[in-house]
Symmetry: none
Subunit: 268 residues, 2 copies
Amino acid sequence: MAGTDATRRDVGEDGFAVVLVDPQLGDNIGAAARAMLNCGLTDLRLVRPRDGWPNERARAFASGADRVIDGTRVFERTEDAVRGLRTVYASTARDRFMVKPVVTPRQAALDMRAAATAGHATGVLFGGERAGLTNDDVALADTILTVSLNPAFSSLNLGQAVLVVAYEWFQAASDASPRAISDPDYTPADKADLYRLFDHLEGALEDARFFKTEEQKPSMIRSLRTMLGRGGFTQQEVRTLHGVITALSGRRADGRERATNRPVPDSP
Amino acid sequence: MAGTDATRRDVGEDGFAVVLVDPQLGDNIGAAARAMLNCGLTDLRLVRPRDGWPNERARAFASGADRVIDGTRVFERTEDAVRGLRTVYASTARDRFMVKPVVTPRQAALDMRAAATAGHATGVLFGGERAGLTNDDVALADTILTVSLNPAFSSLNLGQAVLVVAYEWFQAASDASPRAISDPDYTPADKADLYRLFDHLEGALEDARFFKTEEQKPSMIRSLRTMLGRGGFTQQEVRTLHGVITALSGRRADGRERATNRPVPDSP
């Protein structure tokens, strides 16, 4: 794959990160690591593993995938774990009633291969054993990934879910789909930059007392992130939108007031 | 599917049997049962399970796939376990130096679906955790089934191997695609409403002197419309964004100033 050296160091040679959010059992983390290496993947990221890290059961269940276990990184927040990724999928079996695209692992694998070829790192979020991903985590993702299974019994074990996605990634090696955007240079912004844009907007809305009550604020923020996230903004577009928010609100991304919020009508 | 009553009783409604030969851990038998029911399969056959049958760990690891566990049959010899099947595959990662066709799970799934439609039951043999299938077992099969995986780390856990084969079986059904948006009620906004949103934003930006020069204004507006148009906003999302623009700029969609642009800090 292409990409700068910095990108390579950050996401590994394969350009595809597996992110487990609130995983509970080391057994399942190990099974996920084994399934990843079975399919040539090595970039494993954990958010708040219940039993801490390192975890000896995870190493045992990885059955020799030490390379994945040794390179695993741990984060406090999902937002930090997806840093450096350009497209993020949320693996979930349930309908979330969010206006986000839904793809199968097979479709996702073709898109992820195409992204990797273009030098863009991608990742998939998997929720913990008990409850899966929260709606806030799903809202961070661009696309929902759902495995088609027996509707009467569709809940996959965590290690099995990782296997299906990694397996499709490996099988897609030979045939990457054409790109879906009519600009050969199209590159979505780094998620960290996108989240700074969300912070800027939400800070400006807070100042403007947009949120009527504290209760409705989280769901309103989730809706805004979902609708703006769908656009797949480029770095340049993110900069433009910072300019839009600053122009409209007088509040800059760093939280400071702009010198003049609103032009004085009779200025020269 | 078609088939005589006798065949149906023998192999279950699905026409596809999973045969585990010399399985050791109940955990893995249970994981296999769960993966089978995830993919709509129920016909599980065991040859010489090391820890006997029934096995409480198998039931626990099946996570509710009781229907599979309760229907599981146990045999002394592989020959007896494949009785009633018309085509048998042997799942193995190693070369066996036997003159037999080798297929991937994806190819096998298509063939097994076609056989099921014609009323012919099929089955896949999986070896135990320690050594896999013996050459004698492989010799009983018509075709070798091998999963393409990382050549440096290709050994799948038993439950994972069953999942890959069952998953491909399920995906080979024609209607295994989820809906394209994770909200069954998703409807994009009327374009006329979307354009009113653009007018609102551009009017507010004009007021805020966002456009530095008249020359760059058309291309800037085009960029804004392109990036916001990509999101496919719903009617409700368009309303929310009108609220965002009004809150930030103090300018309503009809061009009038809001009563108070910025909240007065000491108001009640």
